[in-house]
């Protein structure tokens, strides 16, 4: 009964069992850790910081937040993003990312401090954006080293301001 096939088989199944036990321990050991920031991130932008360039609207914004508190040994990276919502005049509700950054565990720079930076992704469909309100908020999603993705759980800071009107709107 004790030939090499049996031995390989036993070693493999032992390895798989132990791996899954380790992953289970890893996942359950981080349940007590915070999934939310200590302080609400500071996000600021206003109508004057929002510029129309050619056929796009570029939102400039300030963001200050310390994401270090969200890291533990089962958080490989955080994907943080500024989320914009607005209603177009044709009735379409738009949700989009305007800026994102990947923070990694072990990095010394998990404190985000941005002043008047332009968004990475622009708002288009300019002719539908007149007299719309823009709502910005900060969100994040964590990716584990192994295990389940934690559900969305945020202390989000939310600001709303009207998009600028210009001569293209009155036409």
């Amino acid at each position: 009964m004790h030939n090499y096939f049996d031995r390989i088989n036993n070693v493999t199944s032992f390895f798989v069992t132990i791996t899954f036990l380790i992953i289970l321990t890893l996942m359950s050991s981080t349940i007590v850790f915070p999934k939310d920031l200590d302080e609400e991130p500071i996000l600021y932008s206003n109508t004057n910081m929002t510029k129309k360039i050619a056929t796009f609207t570029v939102v400039y914004f300030d963001l200050e937040a310390d994401f270090e508190a969200l890291f533990n040994w089962n958080v490989k990276q955080l994907f943080i993003y500024v989320f914009a919502e607005f209603q177009k005049s044709n009735g379409v509700h738009v949700n989009m990312m305007i800026w994102d950054r990947i923070l990694r565990r072990g990095s010394t720079d998990n404190w985000v401090n941005l002043k008047n930076v332009p968004a990475k992704y622009y708002l288009n469909d300019l002719k539908y954006l007149c007299s719309s309100n823009l709502t910005l908020s900060v969100h994040w999603i964590s990716i584990p080293t192994a295990g389940v993705f934690y559900p969305y759980n945020h202390k989000e800071s939310r600001i709303t301001f009207p998009l600028p009107n210009d001569k293209t709107c009155s036409a």
Partner: protein, 185 residues
């Protein structure tokens, strides 16, 4: 011959020569049992998760540093769950065999509730419109295979190896099949 001996082949074929007809049918049945329970687990997962492919292997580096080639993703695809911006989804594009794992960056919702969205890989500098079918600008819910819910690194490398070296796959499957059929419980 000494090599075969050291591999345990003697006791293996010894098992066969000692088998009678009933024993042999029993072996065939237990082989069928293994195949059908694997199929049952896969189909059962499909029912529980609502996804046509509940486990996928990441094949490209377009989501680095979140996912690398060979990582395993567990998906769910419940119809009443809304698609959200920031979420990682797996979708299929017409004319491409392999599903793509990317993040939703923009979502349009019409007043009648219909939703269309745009995706981008974290490691790509542009959105996915170049990857979609010609003329396709948006994805809709029917394109989705699932949303990423769980993650296991490296394990998918086995699948990648098997797909890249089909001979290796046949060798492994062959050895396993012969072992199950010939080995006495």
């Amino acid at each position: 011959m000494s090599l075969l001996k050291s591999l345990g082949a003697e006791s293996l074929f010894g098992d066969v020569s000692r088998m009678d007809k009933r024993q042999f049918f029993y072996q065939v049945l237990s082989f069928g049992m293994i195949v059908s329970s694997a199929l049952m687990i896969w189909k059962g997962l499909m029912v529980v998760t609502g996804s046509e492919s509940p486990i996928v292997v990441v094949l490209s580096g377009s989501m680095e540093p979140a996912f690398h080639r060979g990582d395993l993703l567990f998906l769910t695809n419940y119809p009443d769950e809304p698609v959200r911006v920031g979420e990682i989804v797996v979708f299929k594009v017409e004319g491409r065999d392999i599903p793509i794992v990317h993040r939703v960056i923009k979502l349009h919702e019409k007043s009648d509730g219909s939703v269309k969205f745009l995706t981008k890989g974290d490691n790509n500098s542009v959105d996915d419109r170049g990857l979609y079918a010609p003329g396709q600008l948006w994805l809709t819910k029917k394109d989705i295979v699932g949303r990423a819910r769980g993650f296991l690194p490296y394990v998918g490398m086995i699948t990648i190896l098997m797909n890249e070296y089909p001979n290796f796959k046949f060798a492994i499957l062959g050895i396993l099949a012969i072992y199950v059929l010939l080995h006495r419980e």
